[in-house]
């Protein structure tokens, strides 16, 4: 019998079956997460089911899309979540002020850890593959099923192996790599499949891995999984909840495809509207912008903020450009304050807010008017994603977003004049 991929091993361990690509298995989940948009449907479905059982310790409720409430409807929706949490006395409900963007919280609060099987009613749940979890996006109804049964059905995915070698250059990171991969294989290149990363992974920081895994869904991926190494253990050691069991692939695991990337050859990359697969090197871009957005579950971590601040220090946001900075969590925001990054952004003329999904999904706090163009460290550039149906989103990493805010057009930091 051939060996197994990480996804096959985690699904085997959680289903008690010899899980192989292509099978459908019912598996125990470690955590199920919902947010303020997907939660209400799940709560209603759970109530309709009329069950007494509820796996409360495995449920995580994180309002983030439309909180702080942007209008009466979103306030009512957030209230529905708050009341459901109170009614059932759920231990893992995160109110604003102690919270942030759900995927950042899932890592910061130690739910995401090696070997775990985690589902979330948000497509970017695949983020936790960066810390060796098999995590994937699901719908609301099945989240309710998981509340009631602690289980869910999974099609065991085939896996694409991605071999990495070398090191990223200055101001190049995980975002550039994943935009490159999505551009190479297309927005459905990994549909129904998992991506698994190997090779010189010690050269890729956990925050960079998080950005990569976060966008696995943008090539259709069920998951983007990294092995657990010293960097992983170090990253989660102060926050992880409970014990965990790292899982690596067998040497003779079967892969449906293998991709090779030399990280030293990855350039700053930007994906043009209206698909994440419309990528090209930033040096070939000729695009003026009205807005630069630094934030989101993809690139709203402290490391992204440090990169943005390093570039903005002593510089100013270009006339005619709005720069919006949205840390992914309360904890990231506090670190920004402690390190003086907020001052740097404010001095540069950027707008800084508290954590929210905000404008990334066209919610609020930075919606685009007709005809406007934004460079964003977010994950989707679909038609109308950040506002008007004829607005345009260009996806890039934090360095390019910050540099572009200064230049008023999409550039790399190298293209900026030296700070006087």
């Amino acid at each position: 019998m051939a060996g197994k991929t990480i996804a096959e091993k985690i699904l085997s361990a959680h289903s008690g079956k010899d899980a192989r690509a292509g099978q459908i298995v019912v598996a125990d989940i470690d955590y199920v997460m919902v947010n303020d948009v997907t939660g209400p449907i799940a709560f209603r479905e759970y109530d309709k089911l009329g069950r007494d059982t509820m796996f409360k310790d495995r449920m995580v409720l994180i309002p983030d899309h439309y909180v702080p409430a942007k209008d009466v409807d979103s306030a009512a929706q957030a209230k529905e979540m708050r009341e459901f949490a109170q009614k059932h006395q759920l231990p893992n409900y995160f109110e604003i002020g102690k919270s942030g963007v759900c995927h950042q919280l899932m890592v910061e609060e130690g739910f995401a850890a090696p070997g775990r099987l985690i589902v979330g009613a948000d497509s970017h749940t695949c983020t936790y593959g960066a810390v060796n979890a098999l995590s994937t996006g699901i719908g609301s109804t099945e989240a309710a099923a998981a509340f009631a049964t602690g289980k869910l059905w999974f099609k065991v995915p085939e896996t694409i192996r991605v071999n990495l070698k070398g090191k990223f250059g200055k101001y190049v990171g995980g975002k550039d790599l994943i935009l490159r991969i999505i551009t190479d294989i297309g927005v459905d290149g990994a549909n129904y499949k998992a991506l698994e990363f190997h090779g010189d992974i010690q050269n890729v920081s956990v925050p960079d891995r998080l950005a990569v895994s976060n966008m696995a869904i943008e090539c259709g991926g069920k998951a983007g999984i990294w092995p657990c190494d010293d960097l992983t253990c170090e990253y989660i050691k102060d926050t992880v909840r409970g014990e965990y069991t790292p899982v690596d692939a067998d040497e003779d695991a079967v892969y449906c495809q293998t991709l090779e990337y030399d990280l030293s050859e990855i350039e700053p990359f930007v994906s043009y509207p209206h698909l994440p697969s419309n990528g090209r090197p930033v040096k070939d871009a000729d695009v003026t912008i009205e807005q630069a957005y630094l934030g989101s579950c993809t690139n709203g971590r402290i490391e992204d903020m440090r990169i943005g601040a390093e570039i903005l220090k002593g510089r100013h946001v270009a006339p005619g450009v709005r720069m919006i900075v949205v840390p992914a969590s309360q904890r990231v925001m506090r670190q920004m304050a402690d390190e003086g990054l907020i001052d740097i952004f404010l001095d540069a003329g950027a707008f800084v807010s508290g954590p929210t999904c905000g404008a990334c999904l066209g919610g609020y706090m930075g919606i685009l008017a007709p005809g406007e163009r934004a460079v964003a460290s977010t994950n989707r550039n679909f038609i109308g994603r950040m506002g008007a149906k004829d607005s345009y989103v260009y996806l890039a990493g934090p360095a390019v977003v910050a540099a572009s805010a200064v230049a008023g057009r999409i550039v790399t930091p190298d293209q900026l004049p030296e700070v006087q």
């Binding site: 459908i24 019912v26 948009v37 997907t38 209400p40 449907i41 209603r44 479905e45 309709k48 089911l49 069950r51 899309h65 439309y66 409807d73 979103s74 009512a76 929706q77 529905e80 979330g120 009613a121 948000d122 497509s123 749940t125 996006g137 699901i138 719908g139 609301s140 109804t141 099945e142 309710a144 099923a145 009631a148 049964t149 289980k151 059905w153 099609k155 927005v187 459905d188 549909n191 129904y192 869904i217 259709g220 069920k222 698909l275 999904l361 066209g362 919610g363 989707r380 679909f382 038609i383 109308g384 994603r385 149906k389």
Partner: protein, 160 residues
């Protein structure tokens, strides 16, 4: 399962969930009239044109993007009896069968206004005078279709 026959609407490749229903409509207050908003940014007024029993035929990767269950729910509420596409994005695929919206994975050449007939038991689609075949569903998906969705399956005691 009985044959499904309906008028055809045609869409292309990579129809994402933001197109199907934009994020700004995703509030609980809209849950009983999601069909008012389907495709509103790319095909204004579409929700009002669809009639009960109509069939949507698309290309590759239909339903890519977010996990919003509002996407299949809004299509079902608009009246679609089934969505036929060359391929579906995986979360949309799960959400549809879990909530009782029938999907058929099949490449079909169609033009708008055609009539299509789907026979799930035989695995065939007839459209524009041609017949297409699609593979049998996995047994678990067949059970989901038969029961009308995941919650029904749980109530029947078949998912525990």
């Amino acid at each position: 399962m009985e044959q499904i026959k309906g008028r055809v609407w045609v869409f292309g490749d990579n129809v994402d969930t933001d197109q199907i229903i934009p994020a700004e409509r995703l509030v609980a207050a809209n849950l009983d009239h999601l069909n008012d908003y389907i495709f509103e940014k790319v095909r204004p007024g579409f929700g009002q044109q669809v009639q009960k029993g109509d069939i949507l035929i698309a290309g590759r990767n239909f339903g890519c993007g977010s996990s919003r269950e509002h996407a299949p729910l809004s299509l079902r509420e608009a009246g679609f009896s089934c969505i036929i596409a060359e391929s579906f994005a995986r979360i949309f695929y799960r959400n549809s069968f879990n909530t009782g919206l029938l999907l058929v994975e099949c490449k079909v050449d169609a033009k708008e206004g055609d009539t299509a007939t789907v026979d799930v038991d035989k695995g065939t689609v007839e459209c524009g005078g041609r017949e297409y075949t699609f593979p049998e569903y996995p047994p678990f998906i067949t059970e989901l279709i038969r029961s009308g969705g995941l919650m029904n399956l749980i109530k029947e005691g078949k998912f525990r």
